[in-house]
C-alpha cells in the first residue's frame, strides 16, 4: 500500500501555494488512498510541502470528521444518530448494523469491506432514518432492508 513518495507528492503539488490549499491537498490524498485514510507519511508530506509543523497538519486532520488517521474499509457506512433520525428509530438501525457486521461503531469488518461510523445529521432527515454508504444516501430505512443492501456491496466486491 505504501506508494512511491514522489507519486503521492505529485498529487498535491497543484494545491501548494493556493490560498487555503492544505485542506484540498488532504482531501485529494485521502480520496486516492486505498484504505480511505491519511497515513503518518501523508501527514509528514503535507507538512513539508506547505512548510508548516507536522503538529499543525495533524491537528487539522483530526479536527474534521471526513478525514481518518487509521485504515478504514473499502466502504464507509455512516449512520446518523441525531434527534430527527433518533425519534424514528435510528438506534435500532445502528444496533442492527452492529449485529449484522459484528463490529461496533468505529470498527472495520475483518474482510476490510466495511467501516461503520456513527455521525451527526446527514441533511436528509426528510426521509429519516438515514444512512450513507460512501456518497450514496439510503433513507426511510427499516432494519429488515439492511442485509439485502449490504449484500449488494458484497456482491460487487466479489465481481
Amino acid at each position: 500500500m505504501i506508494e512511491a513518495p514522489n507519486k503521492r507528492s505529485a498529487q498535491i503539488d497543484v494545491f501548494v501555494g493556493q490560498p487555503g490549499g492544505m485542506l484540498k491537498a488532504l482531501h485529494a490524498l485521502q480520496s486516492q488512498s486505498e484504505a480511505n485514510f491519511l497515513s503518518p507519511a501523508d501527514i509528514k508530506l503535507v507538512a513539508s510541502k506547505f512548510g508548516v509543523p507536522v503538529a499543525k497538519v495533524w491537528g487539522t486532520v483530526t479536527f474534521y470528521s471526513l478525514f481518518a488517521t487509521t485504515p478504514r474499509g473499502r466502504h464507509i457506512i455512516r449512520v446518523c444518530e441525531n434527534a430527527p433520525c433518533h425519534v424514528v428509530g435510528a438506534s435500532d438501525i445502528l444496533a442492527a448494523l452492529e449485529q449484522h457486521l459484528k463490529i461496533r461503531a468505529g470498527g472495520t469488518t475483518t474482510d476490510g469491506l466495511f467501516t461503520l461510523e456513527a455521525t451527526s445529521c446527514l441533511g436528509v432527515c426528510g426521509v429519516a432514518p438515514a444512512i450513507m454508504i460512501d456518497s450514496t444516501v439510503y433513507g426511510n430505512l427499516t432494519k429488515e432492508q439492511l442485509p439485502a443492501l449490504l449484500a449488494e456491496y458484497r456482491q460487487e466486491a466479489q465481481a
Binding site: H86, V87, A90, A95
Partner: protein
C-alpha cells in the same frame, strides 16, 4: 424552440434520489420510447417539490397532475392511460378531481395551499442544470435591474427597508450587516455564502442549491455589488455531493455567459464565485470558524470582535450570509421592499423555509409566511401526527433550539415570539415528536450531538457539554438528585455566559427548555418514574454507547 404536447417533471432532489427517482426516470423513458412518444413528451429533472414523504413524485403538465410514491412498474400505466389516452391514473394521484374531471390545482391541495413560495418558487418547476430554464422563469432580471438602476447604497437601503433578517440562525438584519461590510476599509472584500448546513433536522439549503442554483449565483452577485465585494465563495458541506456539483455547474454557466467575471452583464462590476467543499464539522457553520476552514486550518471560531465585516477572510472585510438569506434578495429587488413586507409579520417580514421531520405525516420542505402558527404547519400542511398518536412537543430551530409543548401550538412562528418562549426560529428545522417519547431521553440525545461537535477551543463548552450529558444521563437512569439539578443550572449558566461561540452558548437551551416546559415529567424521573416508559428499562439509554 421545439414544441412538446406534455412535460413530465420528475423531482431529482436528494430526498427523492434516495427513493429511486433515477430508476423511475429510466423506466419512464423506456416506456415512452417503446410507444415512440419521445418527440412529443419531454421528461425534465427538477428540484425538490418539498413533499419528500410522498416521493418519488412527478408532475405532468399541462394538466398539472401530481403522481406520488411511484414505482417503476407504474410507468406503463401512466404512459398508456394518461399520456396516450388522457385519462388520469387516480390511484397514484395526489390531488382530487372536480366534477368536470379536471385535476384540482396543485396549489389547492392541503400541503401547498398555505404555502407561499418566494425562495422555492422555481424548485420543482425548472431544470436546475439549465441556465436557459432559470432565465425563462425570469432569472437574472433582478441582477440586471440592480446594476442598471440602483447604486450599491440604494440596494442596501432596499434590503434594510424590506426588513430581511438572516436565515442562518441568528436573525441579524441583513441590510445592516451589508452596510458594515461596505463601510469597512480593505480590498478586496469577500462575500461568503454559508452552505455548511449541519444543524440536525435542517436540509433546506441543500434542496435550494440542488433545485435552483442560479438563484444563489444571482443573490450573491447582487449582494456583492451592494457591499463592493469582488470575490465570492460558497462553502458547501462536504457531504452534499449534488449541491456541490450543481453549484459548480451554475457558476461555470454564469461565467461563460458573462454573468460572472470581468464586467458582470456588461457593467463595470467585476465578480466571481469559487465553490469550496467542507470537511465535516458542525462548528464550521459558525462564520469565523468557516473562515478559518476556508483558510485551510482547523475550523475553530475566532474571538469577536473584530467581526468578519472588518477582519474576515485573510484579514479583509467579509460578509457571511446564509443560502436562504441570499435567495430572498432577487425577489426583494424585483418586487420592492413594500411587497416583501406584505408577507410575514412586522418584525419578521417575508417567508421562511422550514424542514418538517420526526413524527409527522408529510415530512419534507415547506415555505410559509412568517407568523403562521405551529398548529397550521403541523395539522394543515404536515397532515398531523401519524399512527393515531398525540402531539407531544416540537423542537424549533434544530438541536440548539428549545422544545415547545401543546399549549404553544398557536404561537406565531417568528423570531421574537419563539425567543420569548425560550426557543428560536434558528435554521427553520421543525422536529415533531409524539407522545411515545420521553423528554429526558430526547434531551440526552440532543446533548450527545453537542459533545460530539464541540470543537474544544474554549473550556466551558469543551468540558461543559460532556458534563451536562453525563448529568442528564444520570437522570434518565433514575439516579438524579437535587444536587444534580442545581449543578445542571449552574453549569448551564456558566456555559451560556462564557462560551466562545453560540455552540457552547446554546448547548444548554434544550435542557433549560425541557425543564421549563416539561417539569413534571422531568421531576418524575427523580422518583423513578418515566411517564413515557422509555427510561430505566434499558431502552432510554440505548443510544449511549
Amino acid at each position: 424552440m421545439k414544441y412538446y404536447r406534455a412535460h413530465v417533471l420528475i423531482c431529482s432532489g436528494s430526498n427523492c434520489a434516495i427513493k429511486g427517482c433515477q430508476t423511475i426516470k429510466d423506466a419512464l423513458v423506456a416506456v415512452l420510447n417503446k410507444h415512440e412518444l419521445q418527440s412529443e413528451i419531454k421528461v425534465v429533472d427538477t428540484g425538490c417539490l418539498g413533499w419528500c414523504e410522498q416521493g418519488p413524485s412527478m408532475v405532468i403538465y399541462p394538466e398539472g397532475v401530481m403522481y406520488s410514491r411511484l414505482k417503476n412498474s407504474d410507468m406503463d400505466e401512466i404512459v398508456t392511460e394518461h399520456l396516450l389516452k388522457g385519462r388520469f391514473v387516480h390511484r397514484l394521484m395526489t390531488q382530487s378531481t372536480d366534477t368536470l374531471g379536471l385535476a384540482s390545482p396543485l396549489n389547492m391541495t392541503p400541503f401547498f395551499q398555505k404555502q407561499r413560495r418566494v425562495v422555492l418558487k422555481n424548485c420543482g418547476l425548472i431544470n436546475p442544470e439549465r441556465l436557459e430554464d432559470y432565465i425563462h422563469a425570469g432569472g437574472y432580471t433582478a441582477l440586471a435591474t440592480a446594476l442598471d438602476k440602483y447604486a450599491p447604497e440604494e440596494i442596501i437601503a432596499m434590503v434594510l427597508d424590506a426588513g430581511l433578517r438572516g436565515r442562518g440562525g441568528a436573525g441579524f438584519l441583513t441590510g445592516k450587516k451589508w452596510s458594515y461590510t461596505k463601510a469597512a476599509l480593505g480590498e478586496p472584500k469577500y462575500l461568503i455564502c454559508n452552505a455548511d448546513e449541519g444543524e440536525p433536522g435542517t436540509f433546506k439549503d441543500r434542496l435550494i442549491l440542488e433545485g435552483d442554483p442560479h438563484l444563489i449565483v444571482e443573490g450573491m452577485a447582487i449582494a456583492a455589488y451592494a457591499i463592493g465585494a469582488s470575490k465570492g465563495i460558497i462553502y458547501v458541506r462536504g457531504e452534499y455531493d449534488l449541491s456541490i456539483k450543481r453549484m459548480e455547474q451554475a457558476v461555470l454557466q454564469a461565467r461563460e455567459n458573462g454573468i460572472l467575471g470581468e464586467g458582470v452583464l456588461g457593467s463595470g462590476f467585476n465578480f466571481d464565485i469559487e465553490v469550496c467543499a467542507g470537511a465535516g464539522a458542525y462548528v464550521c457553520g459558525e462564520e469565523t470558524a468557516l473562515i478559518e476552514s476556508i483558510e485551510g486550518n482547523r475550523g475553530e471560531p475566532r474571538f469577536k470582535p473584530p467581526y468578519p465585516a472588518e477582519k474576515g477572510l485573510w484579514g479583509l472585510p467579509t460578509c457571511v450570509n446564509n443560502v436562504e438569506t441570499l435567495a430572498n434578495i432577487p425577489a426583494i429587488i424585483e418586487n420592492s421592499p413594500t411587497w416583501y413586507r406584505s408577507l410575514g409579520t412586522e418584525n419578521s417580514p417575508g417567508t421562511k423555509v422550514f424542514t418538517l421531520t420526526g413524527n409527522i405525516t408529510n415530512s419534507g420542505l415547506i415555505e410559509v409566511p412568517m407568523g403562521i402558527t405551529l398548529r397550521e404547519i403541523i395539522y394543515d400542511i404536515g397532515g398531523g401526527i401519524p399512527q393515531g398518536r398525540r402531539f407531544k412537543m416540537a423542537q424549533t430551530g434544530g438541536t440548539s433550539g428549545g422544545c415547545l409543548a401543546e399549549e404553544h401550538l398557536d404561537l406565531p412562528m417568528d423570531y421574537d415570539s419563539l425567543a420569548s418562549h425560550g426557543s428560536s426560529l434558528g435554521s427553520g428545522a421543525l422536529l415533531i415528536m409524539d407522545d411515545s417519547h420521553c423528554i429526558l431521553d430526547l434531551t440526552h440525545c440532543f446533548l450527545k450531538f453537542f459533545v460530539h461537535e464541540s470543537c474544544g477551543k474554549c473550556t466551558p463548552c469543551r468540558e461543559g457539554t460532556p458534563a451536562l450529558y453525563k448529568l442528564i444521563g444520570k437522570m434518565t437512569a433514575g439516579q438524579g438528585n437535587q444536587d444534580d439539578l442545581e449543578l445542571i443550572h449552574r453549569l448551564a449558566r456558566t456555559m451560556q455566559d462564557s462560551s466562545l461561540c453560540a455552540l457552547g452558548q446554546t448547548a444548554p437551551v434544550p435542557v433549560l427548555s425541557a425543564f421549563r416546559h416539561f417539569w413534571p415529567e422531568v421531576e418524575a424521573h427523580m422518583t423513578g418514574n418515566c411517564l413515557a416508559h422509555k427510561c430505566f428499562s434499558g431502552r432510554g439509554s440505548k443510544h449511549d454507547h
